[in-house]
């Protein structure tokens, strides 16, 4: 009888272990030194996509200054049209995305452009973007003006 008890308790334990087995998602956040009075874009990457299709560019806007700014848009030779988009969940696992005109960047804050959130959408690519490629995208800020970012093309989560 005791043997059975032990067996069941270990079964329950295994069950719990399986239930708690959560995937660790590797972050692609580049380590950014929190330097005072700096405004930087870090960890930029682009998803691979074929010519005439669409892709998305992700990064972090790190504003360690006391001045707010606003991202007004982006431009790139990579695509026919470049827009700021935001992915949204409209309930019951229904996902969509919408065009966003501007993204405010508060003083001393970080704004993440990441999968399932904000992205700079590259619409109608002029060429294939393959893993390993390095590309340029220009971000347009209200106060800082144009900021060119270098983004690596990679498959990522």
């Amino acid at each position: 009888m005791k043997k059975f008890g032990l067996l069941f308790i270990s079964l329950i334990f295994v069950n719990l272990l399986i239930g708690c087995n959560q995937e660790k998602v590797p972050g692609n956040k580049a380590k950014v030194k929190k330097l005072k009075n700096t405004f930087s874009i870090s960890g930029a990457w682009i998803r691979p996509a074929a010519k005439n299709m669409n892709s998305a560019c992700y990064f972090e806007v790190v504003n360690n200054t006391s001045k707010p700014d606003t991202l007004l848009g982006a431009e790139s030779d990579l695509a026919k049209t470049v827009q700021i988009h935001e992915t949204f969940n409209s309930g019951k696992d229904m996902m969509g995305m919408k065009h966003v005109k501007v993204v405010p960047v508060k003083a001393n804050s970080t704004v993440q452009f990441k999968p399932s959130g904000y992205h700079v959408m590259l619409i109608g690519l002029n060429e294939d973007l393959k893993p390993g490629d390095t590309e340029r995208v220009t971000l347009k800020f209200k106060n800082r003006g144009k900021v060119v970012i270098i983004a690596k093309v990679k498959n990522n989560r």
Partner: protein
């Protein structure tokens, strides 16, 4: 005393059995659909993979964010199965935007991502067939926002169900997951429990 202990054990057996059942809560048999793959070959879904476990994602290739995430997750699952020497699993990505997603478009979508198509098919079909199929499996796709490109062509973006389905060897859906946010270990365990 022994009777009490027996009841105690019985309760736990039931709890364990039912928790195992809940791992694969669905049992939805899917009808047959004549579709076409990325090489323009006719495929009857899900019959073509009879005897195999199916991991099915629903996508449209103009999607830059959610569907590539789902596709990337499927590629991670495929690689983990390969590394674990687990065979007998077929991957399928079905487009719910057949007007755009012709076989050649699907092929490029897979190629540019370096996907391994040895056990992965990208499927599309005629509009009525796709419409019927996604309705049967409970995937909703509604054209919403659009972009007009220079030159005048218009692209539609769908608000759509974020979905990966797990089907067993008889073509029956056993579980649905949010495709872009799926927990890789969860589906790996579920696949193993179907072996």
């Amino acid at each position: 005393m022994i009777t009490k202990f027996n009841i105690f054990l019985l309760v736990f057996v039931i709890a364990i059995v039912s928790s195992c059942r809940n791992n694969l809560p669905l049992s939805e048999k899917v009808s047959s659909y004549r579709l076409i793959d990325q090489d323009s070959t006719q495929v009857t879904f899900p019959d073509f993979a009879k005897g195999k476990i199916l991991v099915v994602g629903y996508i449209f290739t103009n999607c830059p964010d959610v569907c590539p995430l789902t596709t990337n997750n499927m590629s991670i699952i495929q690689e983990k199965l390969k590394n674990g020497n687990i065979s007998g699993v077929q991957f399928v990505s079905i487009s719910f935007d057949p007007a755009t997603d012709k076989p050649s478009v699907l092929k490029k979508f897979a190629e540019v991502r370096n996907l391994d198509l040895s056990n992965w098919k990208f499927l599309t079909g005629d509009k009525p067939t796709i419409k019927k199929l996604i309705k049967e499996v409970g995937v909703v796709a509604i054209p919403s926002d659009s972009t007009v490109l220079p030159g005048g062509s218009k692209q539609y973006y769908y608000v759509h169900t974020d979905r990966i389905s797990l089907m067993d060897q008889s073509g029956t859906i056993r579980k649905n997951y949010p495709g872009s946010k799926i927990k890789i270990n969860e589906i790996l365990q579920d696949i193993k429990s179907l072996k």
